[in-house]
């Protein structure tokens, strides 16, 4: 049974881990303009993460703030989906990850904006505009990579094939949550089909559907990500920054 706390924590962790991965592109993007764009998206995700984690801490009522939740939990306590923790790979993998995430976050935040919980509704209203931009940006690159050169087409199709299995976890049903992710499937599928079609890419058959992130069972990658993210904070217990 997913409580509002679990749900909020899961969304906050999605946004935080996505931001951490996108931040890794800084100084490395294929073009300087894209460095700025990826940083913008990372900043949006980080902003949403802070709001969501702060609220999760309040719902929990155990005195944990955004930093306590971000820096002092181990990987088994994180509730993000596996999709966001996957390594960046090449630019095509990053675009594919962002594309699927944004295609899901947009209808999710849109639905959240209309939910009964006022705090979540406010967060959803702010974040959905940002998600629309992320989806737009990722779609724009899916089209260019898919319908660009032979090499970019090959890389883009490889990326879609590699990332697609992780998309299914996003729709695990949670009927008691403020928004049941299972209800978003048709919307996301339609977005994905339209963009992949334009990009001359194909959606793989659904076979392997890894999951477990919402229960704290992650890939091997998350622990490394957290080790780096948390190292300084944990080295100075109780310090303020």
């Amino acid at each position: 049974m997913t409580t509002v706390f679990d749900f909020t924590l899961g969304l906050g962790d999605d946004a935080l881990i996505a931001a951490q991965r996108l931040g890794e592109w800084t100084t490395r993007a294929p073009e300087m303009e894209e460095d700025i764009a990826l940083a913008n998206i990372a900043l949006d995700q980080l902003g949403a993460a802070r709001l969501l984690l702060t609220y999760a801490g309040e719902l929990e009522g155990a005195g944990r703030d955004e930093d306590a939740l971000a820096y002092l939990r181990d990987d088994r306590e994180f509730r993000n989906c596996l999709l966001v923790e996957l390594p960046n790979g090449d630019f095509a993998v990053t675009v594919a990850k962002l594309f699927f995430l944004a295609a899901w976050q947009l209808p999710l935040y849109t639905a959240l904006a209309g939910c009964a919980d006022e705090r979540l509704a406010a967060i959803g209203a702010k974040a959905r505009k940002e998600s629309a931009y992320h989806l737009d940006h990722a779609s724009l690159w899916m089209r260019r990579l898919g319908d660009g050169t032979d090499e970019s087409h090959r890389r883009a199709q490889d990326a879609v094939d590699q990332v697609w299995p992780y998309v299914h976890e996003l729709f695990v049903a949670a009927p008691a949550a403020p928004v049941d992710p299972a209800t978003l499937r048709a919307d996301v599928d339609a977005t994905v089909a339209a963009v992949l079609d334009e990009a001359t890419l194909t959606r793989p058959e659904t076979g392997w559907t890894p999951g477990g992130g919402r229960d704290g069972l992650h890939t091997e990658h998350l622990s490394y990500l957290l080790a780096e993210m948390q190292v300084l904070h944990r080295a100075h217990p109780g310090a303020t920054w």
Binding site: T26, P30, L43, E66, F91, G148
Partner: protein, 354 residues
């Protein structure tokens, strides 16, 4: 960020902060509003016209006639400045993944992103002088043009992010503020924009150090260590001493440069002393003391032999910085090619449809 610690000793001007930037902006608007010279008369000597515009504190604009040496000097200076912004992202970018709080992470990410933006404003300004960004990027990647040597030092702890903000951005601002009054319009306008955004950078650095200096013993030690390591390299950002500097009277006459390296360095030292006191951190110079007669602080000069060594490519991180930039550029080639191919296909389809 931008210093004066490049290969050939170059010019640098001197400044105060946000207020001076705003004054420069007001001066720019005011000069523009004054009855000004139109285009030169058909029989007028273009060189005399150019000198006239400069003397009247008006701006030279891209399509104006200008001496070839003026154009070349500006291209080199603006390009080195742009390269510095781009390479300067690396030492701080090094700490984005490990920033100790989510708030600090967001601020640092935004700051490093700003540096990329500043690099792009400056490349755009340089391009108005008739050189392409591709050419400029190539000049950086194959080492024919330099970037500020300060970025060849490593960021070993989180406090280095604070020290860079306070000292390196602080020195850069002292250098940059007078550039807001540069005679070349696109550069002056780009600098006004850059300086306004940079003053947030310096403050965030100062705030980081202030927090550390008032935190745990370990944090305070981290802050002092960072100041100890960044102080002299920051002083070296102003370039060689005036006696050794080949900075030209020409740049002064052209109003590209307005103050000497030593004037700017002195100004920076005088600003920092009081700020260090409030931080409760020590400037690592036993001979730093107020000189009543000069109404300025006496201080120990940085090691200029070290500066020359770093400029020649033998600083702690020269190789890493260049390799990192070269790799990012090479790794992105297929993406840029894809975007170009897509645009070409679209244009073709549109042409066929029409």
């Amino acid at each position: 960020m931008y210093g004066n610690d490049f290969a050939p000793p170059e010019d640098a001007p001197g400044g105060g902060l946000l207020g001076e930037v705003e004054a420069a902006e007001a001066a720019l608007r005011e000069a523009a509003a004054r009855a000004r010279r139109g285009a030169p008369a058909p029989d007028e000597d273009v060189e005399a016209y150019f000198t006239d515009v400069i003397d009247a504190d008006q701006k030279i604009e891209p399509r104006d006639w200008m001496p070839e040496a003026y154009r070349k000097t500006l291209i080199r200076q603006i390009a080195q400045h742009a390269h510095s912004e781009i390479i300067g992202m690396q030492p701080e970018g090094n700490w984005i993944s490990r920033a100790p709080s989510l708030k600090r992470k967001a601020i640092l990410l935004a700051k490093v992103q700003d540096e990329a933006g500043h690099g792009l404003y400056l490349y755009a300004a340089a391009e108005t002088l008739g050189i392409s960004r591709d050419e400029l990027v190539d000049l950086l990647l194959d080492g024919r043009q330099k970037y500020s040597s300060i970025f060849n030092y490593p960021t070993l702890t989180w406090a280095d992010v604070g020290a860079i903000g306070w000292l390196v951005d602080g020195a850069a601002i002292v250098n940059q503020v007078p550039l807001c009054r540069c005679s070349y319009g696109p550069y002056a306008r780009a600098m006004i924009r850059v300086c306004k955004e940079e003053s947030f950078h310096q403050r965030q650095g100062y705030e980081i150090l202030h927090t550390l200096a008032h935190g745990t013993e370990a944090q305070k030690a981290m802050a002092q260590d960072a100041v100890d390591r960044w102080w002299y390299p920051s002083l070296a950002m102003f370039g060689p001493p005036d006696g050794d500097s080949t900075h030209s009277a020409q740049s002064m006459a052209w109003k590209i440069k307005r103050f000497s390296n030593d004037e700017l360095r002195q100004r920076f030292v005088d600003m920092c002393v009081g700020q260090a006191e409030v931080l409760g951190l020590r400037i690592p110079d036993p001979d730093l003391r107020w000189n009543e007669e000069r109404q300025a602080y006496d201080y120990t000069q940085p090691d200029y032999a070290e500066l020359m060594r770093v400029i020649k490519g033998n600083g702690p991180c020269n190789r890493e910085r260049m390799t990192h930039r070269q790799r990012a550029h090479a790794d992105g080639a297929w993406v840029r090619e894809a975007a170009a191919a897509y645009a070409a296909k679209r244009a073709e389809r549109k042409a066929v449809a029409a």
